[in-house]
Structure formats: C-alpha cells, structure tokens
C-alpha cells in the first residue's frame, strides 16, 4: 500500500483538527477520494452573514480535509432551473443546496445519504418529523437529501397596536384573530397579508388559511381534495378577514408587506425573522422604534387543531454524477456538525432554523425572546402538497399560485368560495394527473 502526499496531508489535517475538533476522527475515517474537488451551488444570501459564515465553514472543511470547494451562489428564482439543468445533463455542481421539493423531483439522480443522515440524527437528538419527510424519498426510509434549514412564517405584529385593540396577547384562535383585525382597522392600524402572486408571503398566508381550517390540496394518496367544505369555510373566513386589510393587498408581492410594516402602515403581517432585524437595526430612529414595538406569534389555530405554517426549506443533495461522492457526503456532514452549523445558525439571527432537534438549545434561541418563536418552525411546518407527497406537482401548484389565486378571487369578489374552490381543483388536477 502506498501513501501519497495527499493522504499524508489529509491524515495530517485530520490529526491537527483532531486536537481541537471532536469531529476529526470521523473525517479521518472518511474515505475521501484522492484529488477530490467539489463544486457547490446554493441560494444567495438573504441575511448578510449567511454567505460569509457558509464560506468560512467551507474553508474550514478544505483546511480539515485538503479538498478544495468552490461555492457558487444563485438567485432564488434561478436556483431551481440550475438544479434541473445539473440533474438533466449530469454535469455541473457536485452538491446543490436547493429548494424543498427539488431532491424529490430528481431523487433518482441523487446519492443515497442515509448513512450520514442517520448518523447526524443519532448525534444531534434526531430529525424533526417534517425534516424527515423533506429528506427521505417518498414512502421509503432512504435519505436523498439533508434538509439544512428553514425560514419560518409566523405573525409579525405591533405589540402596542394589539394592546390598544384590547388584546393582552396575540389571539390564538381564528375568531379572536378576526376580531383583532377588525379592531385594528377601526383604530387605523390595519393588518396586511399578501394576496398577489408573491412566491413566499402570498403562498405562506393562503396555505396557512386553508390548512388551519382543516383543508388540504391533496390527500395521502395525492388525490386532489382542495374542493372541500373545509376549504369553503377557509374562503368565507378569508373574505371576512380581507375586509379588515389595508387596501392594495391583492397586488402585493413579497416585498410589499415589508415596506408597509416598515412605514408603519400596517400592524400585523406574516414574515421571516429578517423583517424584524431589518427594522430593528435601521439607522432611522423612527423605524428602529417600530422594531422595539414588534413581536412575533404563531398564526392562529383553527379546526386543524395545531399550529401550521409553511417553511422555506433549503434541502442539500449530492448528485450521482460527482466523481467524488465520499467528499460530497463528507462535506454535507461537516457543514451540519455543531461546530459549523451552530455558528451559521447563530450568525443568521435565526433566519435559518434547525432540522435537528439538538440545535433547539442553540444560543441563538437563548438571547432575544422575541425571536424564540422561529425556533419551533419545524414543529409547526407543513409542506406544499400537504397531505400528500413532496413532489413535482406540489411544487408546480405552488409556483402557479393556485391557492393564492383561489383566495384572492374570493376576496376580490370575482368568485364565490364554491366557484374558487372548484377552479383550484380543476387547475390542481392538471398537475396531479399521472
């Protein structure tokens, strides 16, 4: 058996790291291919430190293993097409940190990650059940991806306005929520939730609305079930709620609620933690004052009987076309290990949240109590295409704003709840056909 210079380097790096890092033995044992290099593709940063810390962690991997890694950042809307081209052509990045559905669309082109997923699960308190759904191939125990994080979508509200409306805490039920929104409108501080073709916020609000009323796009067998009495109830509720909104929400895109809340035009919306930090950290004193008044709460619970909200999940996958599958797996494991992952979690202020339960104890959740609600994102999260599979059809229905447009058509008076639900069913069936 010959020992190459790279082996010595890897061994040396492993030993050097072993002196300081508890994960070093794992790296030393990993059979990283000789001369391995990796290309990684991931979505561009949304909060400032995301990219910096991700790059630092990647550099630490290179230092520990000697494997050079190039990380490319793609715009959010470009990521899926680029992932698809990678899958289709069998060329390009070895590892893609893609969107939630992507690994399930291309599952036959991906490396089996079961061993590292199970190992990480054992080491870090287990994966949340929804994280398992995102990571495992549909109806199997095989992991095709490593869910790395999720951005939640709870209610973001002005404490003073809610108190002024006569509520000590943010309402937990639908009736209370409707009463609050009516009162807020009377007081001149209305609520505002996106009903335009907003990729994140529009889908988040409208999916929550249907889910919390007990409705769903499909059943467990992927049969379209959106045209149900639960959906009709959700749409009637939506119509009543819409009357309390600030005018213009039918045209709102993703940035609109941020603008309106920052300008003090609305008192309640739904968002990731980034809005809170962008307002709180503003150099404009007037805006920073709004930040002090902001708080978060779970969206109200309806007949479903449990909190529910969509999560923006990033899901890492390694492609079979890579020449260095062991290096790719090792990279993913390394990035999920506490030394790297917790640093990333903390640095992103809780924008990305943990799929592994042990990170619930991360220091990011121990500090500011106002952001603690994001800690449990994976407990509340449901998925596009709930109750069915995470698949291509679910992604398409979301991308086509079928649920958003169903709700918007009722709110704008263009359709009755029955008509809107029937139209949503017709559209969804086209994508769920086999």
């Amino acid at each position: 058996m010959s020992i190459s210079r790279r082996d010595v380097l890897i061994g040396g790096a492993g030993l050097a790291a072993g002196a300081t890092l508890p994960l070093a033995p794992a790296i030393a044992q990993a059979k990283i291919e000789q001369g391995a290099t990796l290309r990684v593709l991931r979505p561009t940063k949304f909060v400032e430190p995301d990219q910096r810390i991700f790059d630092e962690n990647t550099a630490a991997f290179t230092k520990a293993t000697g494997v050079p890694v190039r990380v490319d950042y793609a715009g959010w809307e470009d990521l899926r097409p680029q992932t698809a081209v990678t899958a289709n052509t069998g060329a390009g990045p070895d590892v893609v940190v893609g969107w939630a559905d992507d690994p399930h669309i291309f599952s036959d082109k991906l490396i089996d990650l079961t061993d590292i997923a199970e190992e990480l699960g054992k080491k870090y308190g287990g994966w949340y059940p929804i994280a398992q759904k995102y990571g495992k191939k549909d109806k199997t125990e095989q992991w095709v991806s490593i869910p790395m994080g999720a951005s939640g979508a709870p209610a973001v509200y002005r404490e003073s306005h809610v108190k002024e409306a006569g509520f000590d805490t943010f309402p937990k039920d639908l009736d209370g929520f409707l009463r609050l929104c009516r009162k807020l409108k009377e007081q001149g501080h209305p609520a505002g939730f996106a009903l335009g073709n907003a990729v994140g916020d529009g889908n988040a609000f409208c999916n929550w609305l249907v889910w919390t009323h007990g409705g769903h796009m499909v059943d467990e067998n992927n049969k379209v079930t959106i045209n149900s009495k639960e959906t009709i109830e959700a749409l009637k509720y939506a119509k009543a709620l819409y009357e309390t909104f600030i005018p213009g929400t039918l045209s709102w895109l993703d940035i609109s609620n941020n603008k309106a809340l920052t300008a003090g035009e609305i008192s309640v919306t739904q968002n990731g933690v980034s809005l809170y930090f962008s307002i709180s950290n503003s150099t404009d004193e007037k805006i920073a004052a709004i930040g002090k008044d902001l708080n978060h709460a779970t969206m109200p619970v309806g007949p479903l009987g449990r909190p529910s909200e969509p999560a923006l999940v990033i899901n890492a996958m390694a492609f079979k076309h890579t020449k260095f599958p062991n290096a790719a797996k090792e990279y993913l494991r390394f990035m999920m290990e506490k030394e790297q992952y917790d640093k990333w979690l903390v640095g992103c202020y809780g924008y990305w949240t943990q799929p592994l339960m042990a990170f619930k104890e991360s220091s990011v959740w121990q500090g500011n109590p106002k952001i603690q609600i994001y800690r449990d994102t994976w407990e509340r999260a449901l998925w596009s295409g709930y109750k069915g599979s995470i698949n291509e059809a679910a992604g398409t229905v979301n991308a086509e704003y079928v649920v958003v447009q169903m709700v918007a058509s009722v709110c704008s008076g263009q359709a009755t709840p029955e008509e809107a639900a029937a139209e949503a069913e017709r559209r969804a069936k086209r994508y769920y056909r086999t």
Partner: protein, 318 residues
C-alpha cells in the same frame, strides 16, 4: 521512376486545376461564402425555434425528458380559462398600447420636426424611457402604482385633496391592466417618435411648398403628403412595435407577476411562469408557440396591408 513522378505531378496538377475550376464556379463560391452565415442562422436561430416547437408537442418537465404527446398541450390550453384570459389580455395590451404609442409618438415626431428651440435637447430627453433598462423603469412604475406609497395617490389625496383614498392601481383587474398599458406606452414612445421623426425628415420640403401653393391647409398637407410619405416607415415601426409589445415580459413580470388573479398575465409571462418556476417546459413552450400565429398575422398585415400598397409603386391606392 521518372515517368511515375511525372504522372504523379500530372495528377496533382489535374486535381489543382479541378479545385481552381470549382472555385471559379460562381454558384459554388456563393454557396461557400453563405455557408458560415447559414450555419449561424441554423444553429442560433432555427435550432432554438425548432426545439421550442418540438417541446410544445411533448410533456417535458424541467429535469426530465418528455414524450411526444401530439396536440395534448394545445388541447389542454384551449380549455384552460387562465390561458384564454391571458390571450385576451395580450391582445388588449398589444392593441391599446400600440394605439397609444403611435398616437403620442406621431404627435411628438411632428412637434420635433418643427423648428423648436433646444430641439436636440428635447430629442435627447425623449429617448430617456428607451435608454433606461426595462426592469428599472418597471421598478419605478411599481413604486408609482404602489397602493400605499404611490406618488400619484399622494399628490391627489394629500397635496390636492381631490380624493379621499389612495388609488389601488394594481389590486383590481381593470385598473391593473390599464396601469400596465400606460407603463408600456411610456416606454415605447421614444422608439415610435424617433423612428417617425427620421421618416419625416426624409420628406422633401418641396412637396409641402407645392401643396401650399395648391391651397392645402395643415390637415390636408398631413393627410395627403405627410401620411403617404411616412407610410413605409410607419409600417415597419408598427410591425416592430406590435412584435415588441406582444412579446413583452419584463414590465409585467416585474410589476405584477401576472396578478391580481391572472388579470395581467400576458402569453409571454404565462409561458415563463408555467415553463420555468412551474417546471412544465412542454406546456410553457406550447404557450410560446401559440404566440407565433398572432405574430405572423401582425407581420403579414403590416407588410402586405401597409408597406406593399400599390400607391407606393406609383399606382392608385386600392
């Protein structure tokens, strides 16, 4: 040996002379010179179009090779209310915006063709909407139409006090459609105005002098001199304007993403929506292919209907 060498030289000479003959043959030379251009057209223009048409007849999805499914995508679109609405939107958008652009563009061109002070500066100013990247102007209009922060609403409500509430430009179907048409007109005017101005400047002043001597008033001079002389360039500009407007994407996608409730989706935005974020490449391609007949019709209309009229060849207009 010597005879073999001579024979070899003779054969080589014969080959050379055949090659020279071939290159002296004019059709071959033309074919050879056109070959790079033809290859370029084939690879970069025909192939993508052909591929798009092929995809329209398949069930290709992003990341998956599709199967040939005949006209299924088109049949499905025929029954798709969103698509039907989109076709209506596209026709309205193209028609209304083109009329607006031509009316205002022609008016501006006529104004600028007169002897005005600061004429060059005015011409430069008119070009601004054309120079600004579309997405930047789209963002500007997005702010102008914002339900909470619109400058128009601010002026009407807070400054002039003419209205009680802010205008919801993009939240209702018809206001949203007209708002986008207005944005497109703003953006398209420079192209029409400057092109028509170029056309106006080619008209000989002697024609106007002759018309004036014959007692023609301003309208008659415009009707019987300006318009006929401008017609060839008008036809070309109209064709291009219709093509640009019909296939518009950036303005609409940046401002509304086709909302509210698909009221502003154009065929181009719907094709992208279904093909890329929606992953249904075959269906997206089918929508794009469905645009071709409209575009061909528009081109043929302006080419045969306007540019090739007999009066241009010195005959009566029929």
């Amino acid at each position: 040996m010597a005879s073999a060498a001579t024979e070899s030289r003779t054969v080589t000479g014969r080959r050379q002379s055949r090659l020279v003959e071939l290159f002296d043959y004019k059709p071959f030379l033309i074919f050879l010179c056109l070959l790079p251009a033809a290859a370029f057209l084939l690879v970069f223009l025909s192939y993508p179009l052909g591929l798009g048409i092929w995809l329209a007849f398949t069930d290709t999805r992003i990341g998956r090779t599709g199967q040939f499914i005949g006209f299924e995508n088109f049949v499905s679109l025929w029954h798709d209310r969103v698509f039907i609405t989109t076709v209506g939107n596209t026709l309205l958008y193209t028609g209304a915006a083109t009329v607006g652009k031509f009316a205002l563009g022609l008016w501006l061109a006529l104004l600028l063709n007169n002897h005005l002070p600061f004429k060059s500066l005015l011409r430069a100013i008119i070009l601004i909407p054309w120079i600004v990247p579309t997405v930047l102007s789209a963002i500007a209009f997005w702010w102008i139409y914002d339900p909470q922060f619109s400058i128009i609403s601010y002026v009407l409500v807070d400054v002039l006090g003419w209205r009680d509430s802010y205008i919801d430009f993009l939240g209702q179907p018809w206001p949203a459609r007209w708002s986008l048409i207005a944005a497109n007109i703003w953006r398209g005017i420079p192209f029409v105005a400057i092109s028509l101005l170029a056309g106006l400047q080619t008209i000989s002043p002697s024609l106007y002098e002759a018309a004036m001597l014959d007692g023609a008033n301003a309208w008659q001079r415009f009707r019987h001199v300006t318009l006929p002389m401008l017609m060839p360039i008008l036809a070309v500009v109209l064709t291009f304007s219709v093509l640009f407007t019909f296939t518009d994407f950036q303005l609409v996608y940046a401002i509304t993403r086709g909302g509210p409730v698909n009221a502003t989706h154009l065929m181009a935005t719907l094709a992208f929506q279904r093909g890329i974020p929606g992953g249904q490449l075959g269906e997206g391609a089918a929508i794009a292919v469905a645009m071709i007949p409209f575009l061909v019709l528009a081109t043929l209309f302006s080419y045969f209907g306007l540019a090739r009229r007999k009066w241009q060849q010195g005959e009566d207009n029929d």
